[in-house]
Amino acid sequence: MTALAYTVSDSRVMLRRNLKHQLRYPSMTLMLVGMPIVFLLLFVYVFGGQLGAGLGAHLGRHAYLNYVVPGLLLITVASAVQGTSIMVAMDMTGGIIDRFRTMNIARASVLTGHVLGSLIQTLAAFGVLIGVAFGLGFDSSAGLLDWLAAIGILALFAFALIWLAVALGLAAKSVETASNTPMILILLPFFGSGFVATATMPAGLRQFAEYQPFTPVTDTVRALLTGAAVGHHAIAAIAWSVGIAALSYLWALRLYNRRRATEAH
C-alpha cells in the first residue's frame, strides 16, 4: 500500500471506531440529536403563535415554522459539535491515545475519524430534524437542487465547527471543560437571524448579529428553502466556513502535535 492508502485505511478504521462509540454511548447521541427537536417543538408550539404574528399580518404558527427551520438546523450543528469536543477530550485523557501514538499509523487519523464521525452524525441529525419539521407541517418550495445546496452549505459549516470543536477538545484539560466550552455556539443562532429578524434588534446587538458567521449561513439556507434570492449571503457563508475550518484545522493539529512533544499536563 502507498502512504495515502495507509492514511485512508487508518482514517476509515478510526471512523468506524467513532461511529461505534456513538452507538455505544446512546445517551449522548440522543441528547445531541434530541435537543434541536425539543427546541423546534418549543419554538413552534410555545413561541410560534406570537412570533409568527410578528412576521406579517395574517401570519401565524405555520409561517413561523417555515421561518425557524434554518435556525434549528444551525442549532443542530452547534449541538452536535459539543459531542465532538467531549469525544475528543475523552480520547485524549484516556490511555488509548498513547497506544495509538506508539503505533506506526497515519498521524492525524485519530482526528480525521472524529471529524468524519461527527459529520455523519450531524447529517443524520439534519435528517431527523427535517423529518420532524415536515411532520409538523413544514412546507418548502425548494427543489432537489435547492435542498442539496442547502445541505451542502450546512455540511460545510458543520465541517468547520467540527474542526473548531476538535481543537477545543484538544485544548481542554478535562472532559468537563470540553463539554462546556462549545456551549457558547448554541447561543449564536439566537444572536443572529435564526429565530427573529436581526432588524428587530437594538443597535450594537444588531451589528453583531448581522456580521457573525451563523447569520449568512442561516440566511442562505432560508433563501434556498423558501425560494428567495440567495444573493451575497452564500459567498459570506462559504468564506466564513472555509476560514473557520482552515484556522481550526491548523490550531487542532498544533495542539495535537504539541501534546505529543511536551506532554505538559
Binding site: 461505534k20 462509540h21 490511555g95 506508539t102 503505533m103 506506526n104
Partner: protein, 325 residues
C-alpha cells in the same frame, strides 16, 4: 525477529530529561540484549515511566541517543513504532468496545488484512484466556482481564521489543502470576522486554538484568544474582525460648546479630534452601533448640539502603505527576 545478528534490542546512552526545572532522568545508560528481559526497578517518581515514554517515542529526551531494534528513536520514530509494543500502567484499551473489537482495531491499524486479522484475534483471545469474554463490553472485565487484553493488543503487531510499564501493579496475586507466565513465554519466543516495576521480587523472578533507578539515576545494574550479592539485608531470624540457647547460638554463629530483648538471632542468609538446611543442621548438631524461624528476603528498601548509601526513597509527587502522563 529472532537473533540473526547481535543488534541489542534496546540501547540507550546518556539519556537526560527534565520537566521545567526538575531533572527526571540524569544520564541514563542501558542495554537490553535481544530476547532478554530487562527490569527497571525503582520507587514512584524515580523516572521509570518517563524512560519508557521516551524509548517508546511518546516524548522526546533532552539529550542522549537511543536505538530500538536497530532503529534510531529520534531519527526514525516510525521505524521504531513498527517494531515495538507498549503496555502502560494506565490501561490503553477502548472502554466502549468489546474485547474482540479492541483487538480488531489493532489488527486493522496494523493492516493485517481480514483473514490474517481474524486468525490473529482468535489466537490471542485463546492465548490470553479471553475467548469467553471476547464479545462482552469492557465494563464487565476484571482488572486482570483488562490487563491481559491490553497486552494482547500490544502483541497484535508481533513486536520484537515490548515495553511493560508496571505490568502487575494493582493486580491480585493470581493475576500477577498469570502475567509473569505470559512475560516469560514472550521472552522465550525471542521478544526483547523492558519492564518497570517497584517490586524486587518481580524483577528477580523475571529479569535477566536489572537496573535500579533512583531519582533519575541508575544507581546499580547487573543480573539479579549480582545485585543480590551487593544487597545485605537477606537474613533468617531465629527465635529462641530462652537467653541460654540464644547465647550458645550466637557463639556458634559469630556473623549473626543477637537481640537479647526479643530473644532473636538475626543470621545473614541468601534465602536458598541449601543455606537454610546448612544452618539448621549446624544448630541441630550443636543441640541448640530453635523455637521458630522466619526468613527475610531483601526487598526494595534493602536495595535502596544498599545502593543509595542509605537515603530513604522519597515519594516525589511532582515528578510522578508529570511522568505519569
Amino acid at each position: 525477529m529472532t537473533g540473526q545478528n547481535s543488534t541489542p534490542g534496546i540501547v540507550a546512552s546518556g539519556v537526560c530529561k527534565s520537566f521545567s526545572a526538575h531533572l527526571v532522568l540524569d544520564n541514563v545508560n542501558l542495554t537490553a540484549d535481544e530476547g532478554s528481559i530487562f527490569a527497571l526497578l525503582g520507587p514512584n517518581g524515580a523516572g521509570k515511566t518517563t524512560m519508557v515514554r521516551i524509548l517508546s517515542t511518546l516524548i522526546p529526551a533532552d539529550s542522549g541517543s537511543m536505538q530500538i531494534a536497530g532503529h534510531d528513536v529520534v531519527g526514525d520514530p516510525d521505524g521504531v513504532r513498527a517494531h515495538i509494543g507498549v503496555t502502560g500502567q494506565f490501561s490503553a484499551v477502548d472502554n466502549l468496545l468489546t474485547g474482540r473489537e479492541n483487538l480488531r482495531l489493532m489488527t486493522d491499524l496494523r493492516h493485517l488484512g481480514r483473514e490474517a486479522g481474524q486468525r490473529r484475534i482468535t489466537e490471542l483471545l485463546e492465548q490470553f484466556d479471553l475467548t469467553d469474554a471476547a464479545d462482552k463490553p469492557l465494563s464487565v472485565y476484571s482488572g486482570g482481564m483488562r490487563r491481559r487484553l491490553d497486552l494482547a493488543m500490544t502483541l497484535v503487531g508481533q513486536p520484537s521489543v515490548i515495553f511493560l510499564d508496571e505490568p502487575t501493579t494493582g493486580l491480585d496475586p493470581a493475576s500477577r502470576l498469570t502475567m509473569w507466565q505470559i512475560v516469560r513465554q514472550l521472552s522465550r519466543s525471542g521478544v526483547t522486554i523492558l519492564l518497570t516495576t517497584q517490586y524486587l521480587e518481580e524483577a528477580d523472578q523475571l529479569a535477566d538484568r536489572i537496573a535500579v533507578l533512583d531519582q533519575g539515576r541508575i544507581v546499580a545494574e547487573g543480573t539479579p544474582d549480582e545485585l543480590k550479592r551487593r544487597i545485605p539485608g537477606g537474613h533468617v531470624r531465629l527465635h529462641f525460648a530462652g537467653p541460654e540457647s540464644l547465647r550458645s547460638a550466637a557463639e556458634l554463629l559469630p556473623a549473626a546479630a543477637p537481640d537479647p530483648d526479643e530473644l532473636v538471632l538475626q543470621v545473614p542468609a541468601d534465602g536458598t534452601v541449601d543455606s537454610l538446611r546448612g544452618l539448621l543442621d549446624e544448630l541441630h548438631q550443636a543441640r541448640i533448640d530453635v523455637e521458630r524461624l522466619s526468613i527475610h528476603t531483601p526487598d526494595l528498601d534493602d536495595v535502596f539502603f544498599a545502593v543509595t548509601g542509605g537515603h530513604v526513597p522519597e515519594e516525589n509527587p511532582i515528578a510522578e505527576g508529570v511522568a505519569a502522563r
